[in-house]
Amino acid sequence: MANKPMLSELMKTHGISRRAFIKYCTSLASVMALSPAMVPRIAEALENAPRPSVIWLSFQECTGCTEAITRSHAPTIEDLIFNAISLDYHHTLQAASGHAAEAAREHAMKEHYGKYVVVVDGSIPIKDPGYSCIAGISNLDMLKETAAGAAAIVSVGTCAAYGGVGHADPNPTGAVAVSEIIKDKPIINVPGCPPIPVVMTGVLAHFLTFGIPELDELGRPKAFFGESIHDRCYRRPFYDKGMFAESFDDEGARGGWCLYKLGCKGPTTKSACATVKWNNGVSFPIEAGHPCLGCTEPDFWDNGGFYKPLSVPAGDYRKLGLAAVAGGAAAGVAGALLAKAGKAKAAKAHETVDAHDLEKSS
């Protein structure tokens, strides 16, 4: 696996023309939100990219991220990007198993110490590390051990990036994100449940060409997570015109109106879904008629109900409101009674006067 041909060689052997490669680079630039002027540089960098060894660690996860990334129907240049890396360990995909598999990981770590890339999907339980083990090694230990010699870590999926579903309340396993454990390595978060495959390859492409991309405060590449879904949503004009679907089966829903009132989290969710879309650009949740769940955001499971509009209070405020009415009424009665007592006292103290009592004696 170690002596893979360079990308240009690969293209030649696959009969891919330079023109196709330029087309890919152009589209890649568009996906990464880079200027079209950058295309020549991308092409050059991709051709001469080093081929880092990649160790893929899967912890508390559903394999959805791996599924997503391997679900390309047609062989594309994305495949080539993957071919350009040396995936030395991925316990779901690799042929080897058991000791042989672990040996491959240890070998890669030793061979490429300080240079390999660790890709993680899944959260890490820390309440009891024994909740999730691979080959008898707890996730926590394996992450620490593997991360020690890594050049960078890519946390793929919301679980690895932010804890995800495992971290959701009440978090029985004490699941945490990679960044909670590893503090001394650059970490690129590629959240999403799962992340868009093109985004994953785009990040890898960026890493191969220009190194670690510019990240936002949540460790996400700005190129893909710089703007909210709401801002890029093709249904945004309906929002601006005040046209909303009120249920999943009304005129608005059929007419493709804005899904804000059905709980769409687009306004607070940063992701490229609305532009890059899913399944090779076929569609994305909102286009399919479902509000955005906000899966690229930390704690999206617990950020209010999926079908609750963002502007709606998250708590059980109705009961509280009724309690407040009762409490306010009680306090009001108390206050009024105090006031009335004062007034009654004043009335009692009232001595009928006549016109001769209106001047001060002094």
């Binding site: 030649k12 891919i16 023309s17 330079r18 023109r19 196709a20 330029i22 087309k23 890919y24 152009t26 589209s27 630039a29 568009s30 996906v31 939100a33 200027s35 079209p36 002027a37 129907h73 047609a74 594309t76 240049i77 801002d231 890029r232 093709y234 945004r236 004009p237 309906f238 015109k241 089966d249 059929r254 007419g255 493709g256 532009t275 090779n280 650009g281 076929v282």
Partner: protein
């Protein structure tokens, strides 16, 4: 609800409404194109505008198509999926749409140039072509 029930009138109504929905981004974009065309003529500078980088609604799309129109050249490329290179009715302004092998849109550009680069034969491809041609000629020689 029966999702397959044909309700064509309804759908066309919706399309009609949608086509009027716009973000207002088309007009500034057209001005940018005009400026770029001026630059091309004055300083021979080509420009590329990534349509994926601008929020566009169907109404914007319609306006852009209406204003630019369809020109004389239309090239269909077969490069890992189709690509379409069309000159608009405003010569010097080209529309380039890249599709992947499933026929889904990959990226879309407007190029302001005398000749889009993607149409030109790449040097390495020509080199490969030379090799290929040589091999084929050799094969002919061998078979002779």
């Amino acid at each position: 609800m029966d999702c397959n029930s044909p309700n064509t009138k309804k759908t066309s109504d919706i399309d009609d409404v949608l086509s009027f929905v716009s973000t207002g981004n088309a007009i500034p974009l057209l001005h940018e194109i005009k400026h770029a065309l001026g630059q091309l003529l004055e300083n021979n500078v080509t420009s590329t505008i990534d349509l994926g980088a601008i929020p566009f609604a169907p109404g914007d799309e319609r306006l852009l198509d209406d204003v630019l129109g369809i020109g004389e050249v239309h090239a269909a490329l077969a490069v890992m999926g189709e690509s379409h290179v069309r000159e608009t009715a405003v010569p010097g302004v080209w529309r380039i749409d890249h599709f992947d092998e499933d026929g889904e849109i990959q990226s879309r550009f407007i190029e302001i140039t005398f000749m889009p680069d993607i149409l030109k034969t790449q040097r390495t491809d020509a080199e490969t072509g030379l090799e290929t041609l040589s091999q084929r000629l050799n094969a002919l020689d061998d078979n002779r």
